[in-house]
């Protein structure tokens, strides 16, 4: 069964897609246009009531929330492709911890930056400069803690690539490329090496340009 993934152009959907590639799961993509309001149409809302991408269809399963979907596939196909969860329950706990850190500490400010730097004019509202400044400061503080962590282990959850690292790919890519803030990564030696490592994975190279 081929997994159908909606909205391949957007960061949260790319989080799912890169996981599917790591696990060697076949997929097809269904483009949707956020700017045109596709996500607020009744047929889309019937699939994803919150009106955001991603949503996936896999046989009789319809699932949404990117971090739920990646956990589902990483568990279901534990021994296929890259193991993204760690070998023991304890390692899995540490993976969960850093996935939560991404979701609660890293994502909110980087999402604000994405919306206000890249999408505000397309969506027809003024960029909030104060929010942009505050968000950048918050990301900087989180990256300082990552720098310390990554001086002790190669990846966030330990010496193995996991969902925790993978979850950072889509929006960090936007930060270093479209947003022109690569210095935030390069100013931090260990974060910079980690970024080079995770962003050069074949899975990410395959997914990053999907539209």
């Amino acid at each position: 069964m081929v997994v159908k993934v909606y909205g391949p152009a957007y960061g949260s959907s790319k989080r799912v897609l890169v996981c599917l590639v790591e696990k060697g799961i076949d997929f097809e993509t269904v483009p949707v246009d956020l700017i045109k309001g596709d996500l607020k149409q009744p047929d889309f809302l019937a699939l994803q009531p919150f009106g955001v991408v991603p949503v996936i269809q896999d046989g009789e399963y319809t699932l949404y929330e990117s971090r739920a979907i990646i956990r589902y596939y990483a568990e279901k196909y534990k021994s296929q492709g890259s193991d993204l969860l760690g070998k023991t329950i304890e390692e899995r706990g540490v993976v969960e911890q850093w996935v939560e850190v991404e979701a609660h500490n890293y994502h909110p400010p980087i999402y604000n930056l994405t919306v206000h730097i890249l999408f505000a004019s397309k969506l027809g509202f003024p960029a909030d400069e104060k929010l942009i400044k505050e968000s950048e400061e918050k990301i900087g503080k989180v990256l300082d803690i990552y720098e310390e962590r990554l001086s002790k282990s190669k990846y966030l959850a330990g010496d193995f690539f996991s969902l925790a690292d993978l979850s950072h790919l889509p929006f960090t890519q936007r930060l270093v490329s479209e947003m022109g803030k690569e210095y935030m990564i390069r100013d931090r030696k260990h974060v910079s090496a980690w970024w080079d490592d995770i962003s050069s994975r074949p899975s990410w190279n395959k997914v990053k340009h999907l539209q």
């Binding site: 009531p49 919150f50 540490v94």
Partner: protein, 217 residues
């Protein structure tokens, strides 16, 4: 080896973990961290969580922070004791637990926490509540609850006809929220109201709720 939970009995993150530990019938020691004295930002605690936030759990050699990571770890490690909070025997049920756990974390929490913060925490810190923030989030939360209402008209709990971490994670913030003037957002939606009454009457939560006193609430 007894579990050690570093936190405070009125903190939403700490209580999220405590409720799960009670559901699992696990003994633990609550090691108090004094938020008002700023202990969470001081070296001994910072070595457990560099972000300086409670809670953190110690289980032998392992230290974990982030409340939802801790509950997931505990529920998986002890999947044969107490309430099954992750439906580990059924792939489809466990997938839906994952989805609704994320809905809580990504849709519900960002809307409800600023309301509770403005209403409860700001006054304690001597700030006046910012009504614009409250209003914007009341609107956001209302939309999320409309989706919950539809969902809970089809199944008793968020992930299906079983109680799970997805429901449990809602307890701490909703408990404080129900003491604010905006509680009607829950009470005026019959299925959401019935769900709230059900999950908040579980013994594992009632034990924890006794310690949840905060300011005037």
């Amino acid at each position: 080896m007894a579990l050690k939970l570093y936190g405070a009995p009125m903190s939403t993150g700490t209580t999220r973990v405590m409720i799960a530990l009670h559901e699992k019938d696990l003994d633990f020691e609550l090691v108090p961290v004094d938020l008002f004295a700023g202990e969470q930002k001081e070296p001994p605690f910072l070595s457990k969580n560099p972000f300086g936030l409670i809670p953190a759990l110690e289980d032998g050699d392992l230290t974990l922070f982030e409340s939802r990571a801790i509950t997931a770890y505990v529920a998986e490690k002890h999947n044969e004791t107490g309430t099954d909070l992750i439906r580990h025997r059924d792939l489809k049920e466990s997938a839906l637990v994952k989805v609704w756990k994320e809905v809580e974390s990504q849709q519900y929490d960002p809307a409800i926490s600023p309301i509770v913060y403005q209403h409860v925490v700001a006054p304690i810190r001597g700030q006046s509540p910012d009504q614009a923030i409250i209003d914007a989030n009341v609107e956001k939360l209302g939309k999320v609850l409309d989706i919950y209402e539809a969902r809970l008209s089809e199944s008793k709990y968020l992930s299906g006809d079983f109680y799970s971490l997805a429901d449990l994670h809602h307890l701490p913030f909703t408990y404080y929220f129900m003491k604010t003037p905006y509680a009607s957002l829950i009470n005026e939606r019959p299925h959401v109201k019935a769900w709230w009454e059900d999950i908040s009457s579980r013994p594992a939560f009632k034990k924890v709720a006794e310690g949840m006193t905060f300011g005037d609430l």
